[in-house]
């Protein structure tokens, strides 16, 4: 895939902090997979299981680890973490689009909002009073920033993002379209059968280098704040309820829901479509499998999972019936144990 930037392999290797093997004058002007890359293109070896593809690659150069150099038929950039070098190479070859500073004529900025002159506010952006938009911030079309909200330098809200009043986004965050930050938590008091809204007076505090995918929903705290620490990465459609606390550098895949007041540690990984109940604690370094149902605190690092993988519908139906009767099955086994014991006693 053709890149907007062309760079010599020599310079690329230097920028990646990698060791160059082969012709440093080679010009790299794009990237592709190992089996599709052509002469001027860069590829990378993600895992040694793809070594056969490496042996046959026609790429201009390959990013790989020291152990793979001997299998590489073309030029190479040798690094200890090929995936990380690949991420950086892509950032060099396909530099992020940063729209020019300035406020679009159709943007609506309330008096009393502070907009750094280097920020970009796209068409139909709305910023309320008291909001502070930092240097280099990008607010894409249709984004809304409520009163007194703040966005740290370099952060980007891509399109139709809603940031409610008083919430805070750190520096260099990336928030994808349709995401909502700061909606009310689901706080209800019961008045003889009718639900009464409990005003949600906390905020959402998002640290630096946080990413959120599309159509996430992050509720503000009821009392106190919802906190997403630095370096957290959320995929699409993640729901974070009020007063949740997500520790630094935790990654949460798509469609995960986290109920209120739960505290998730740092460096955790949560698989897609998992659901985590409220008022529990997950330790640092916990990995939770896709679609897992987390109902209790997890006190130590390690991998947790639940759920039953899909099987043929007919078998599944039978298994469901068996599961429903599992209590009875246990009783039948107990009865067998009792009768057999009786038999054995007679023998003696």
């Amino acid at each position: 895939m053709k890149a907007p930037v062309t760079i010599s392999l020599h310079e690329l290797a230097e920028r990646l902090g990698g060791e160059l093997r082969g012709d440093g004058e080679l010009l790299i002007g794009g990237v592709a997979g190992l089996d599709q890359a052509g002469p001027g293109e860069l590829a990378f070896l993600a895992h040694r299981k793809y070594r056969p593809k490496l042996r046959e690659t026609r790429a201009g150069a390959v990013i790989l680890s020291p152990a793979e150099v001997e299998h590489c038929p073309v030029a190479a950039v040798v690094v200890t973490n090929p995936q990380l070098a690949w991420a950086r190479a892509l950032a060099v070859l396909y530099p992020e689009h940063r729209p020019a500073p300035g406020v679009a004529p159709s943007a609506v900025v309330a008096p009393g909002a502070e907009i750094d002159p280097s920020a970009h506010l796209g068409p139909c952006v709305v910023v309320e009073s008291g909001a502070r938009i930092g240097a280099g911030v990008v607010l894409g079309p249709g984004c809304f920033v409520g009163r007194e909200a703040t966005i740290g330098e370099g952060s980007r809200l891509l399109a139709n993002v809603t940031l409610y009043h008083d919430c805070h986004i750190g520096r260099n965050c990336l928030i994808h379209a349709g995401t909502v930050i700061g909606s009310d938590g689901f706080g209800l008091a019961n008045d003889g059968g009718r639900w009464v809204h409990i005003p949600q007076i906390g905020r959402v505090i998002v640290g630096d280098d946080v990413e959120m995918g599309a159509n996430c929903a992050i509720d503000r705290g009821a009392l106190g704040d919802t906190v997403i620490e630095e370096g957290v990465k959320l995929d699409n459609q993640v729901h974070v309820a009020h007063n949740v606390h997500i520790g630094a550098h935790t990654a949460i895949a798509g469609c995960v829901g986290i109920a209120g007041s739960t505290r998730i540690g740092a460096h955790c990984a949560v698989g897609g479509a998992a659901a985590i109940t409220g008022h529990i604690e997950i330790a640092d370094g916990v990995q939770i499998g896709g679609m897992a149902m987390v109902t209790r605190s997890i006190r130590e690092a390690g991998a947790w999972a639940s759920g039953l993988p899909a099987q043929r519908q007919a078998e599944w139906r039978r298994a469901v019936v068996r599961f429903r009767n599992i209590d009875e099955l246990v009783k039948r086994v107990e009865e067998l144990e009792r009768r057999l014991q009786e038999q054995e006693n007679k023998e003696d």
Copy 2:
């Protein structure tokens, strides 16, 4: 947390209909948790398990039930339902922000739409012809109201909300950002392997005092209407398919999906991430656990649940294999029963 309003404890107790204990002249200017509140702040006792915190609180005053008065070292407002009184106290101390009446210059109102002069239409709001916006309604930035849709007095659509044509929102509703009301139901006819869209000609009818969280999606009826009765509360990312009927004062937590034509009773509670199949009926007063899979009608009030809580991954893997073989296990037990019976018969 400092409140925009300061009120004497005397007056607050009166407004909450509670009994005052202690110095009525005390000024309350904020709220906090029992263990964090200082002299001018209000706290509340949610549950008697927090009684130890109550005994040590340094709050100015505490909202609590009669049974707890004797354990309270500071002033108190005594009520029968402390959580409800707390909700009301917050509403007094942190009054809801209501933007001024008027239509923002960048809002686009089609000829033939009726906008009450006391309504607020924020920047980039779009209202189509024939829509009727009631007294005191707030339409936040980027909201869209389709032709002939109506919104009852006092309702608020916060930002980037989409209300499709012909749908109806009752009075005093609160709809959070990104929510979509009135999209087409998933109605498809099959034409030799190709799906053909079935026009969805029904509406969504939302009663009074309904709340919806962020990024919900409520489909219009195929024929006839999708109905959400008064007082229903939906959390974030709830999906309601066509022709669903949700009874009054039912609360539905985040990430729940409800398939088409299902009828949920009044005063139900549905836990987060539950999935409810189509064309079934749930009685009044049913409680459904988080992540439950509801595949059949539930005819009586009571608590229902399903799903397997997360366990260590290694144990889970083993259990999954056992579950797959549960049918075989039952057969082994049957065989044991037969053989043991034979043994016992021989004895006789």
Copy 3:
């Protein structure tokens, strides 16, 4: 329900390619269910189980299959696929609302974007440079189309839809409000515990006649494209990760999540709230049940399912404990088998 169009039964039958029974001069001006339709209204018989309702219907006319004609007390349009004919009849009686061509004054179109004169761009639409909007396209209020994105003729993006740069929508697609197409995939490299964003340089390619419900999120490819083939139908809140490939005429119900690089065949059906893991393949013609957890490739057509239907909470709690101990139960059965064998051996 009154329709905006009135048509003679004769003409309707002709347009549906059906056989007319009864008075062709009868005027049809609306539709309703079999048991609610009145003299000027059309109904249809979806399934023979509703035959009792057919026998008592007071509809003006009924769409039905040849086998049902004898049970119909009123006029009829006889067709081989009543549901399909019903979809077409609705399209005749309730023609889709198509706003007039033109660009709203508040829409913002960048220089270098190509907008077909027959396209409609509603208020607050934003189209970036290099985008191409085809004939008859409708972009509803608040939609955003990024640079170099293209939309084929006749497609409609209803409101607050975000289409990222370089993505492609085919012809005659229908995209509901709040849906996001082209957000970054969840691609992360780990740098000593910190996550580094991997630039996502692929696109989303959507074929012709695709429908997406409200608040879906479709990520662009990391390298190469995310592909949604022609005729695919997605319900609300479907999450499609990077480099997923969905085959033609597959239908996916609400709240489904599909992880990265998974390939789903043509003519599949995926039930609501199912979760499909990454890097697997699902064959053509596979049906996946609601809330199923798909963890491995499925190589042949057929129905698959998983999950445990809800039961009374008390029973569920017991069953969960039994499930946790299923390993021990298997061991108890093995022990019984061993002991009984011993007994039987003694007998010999």
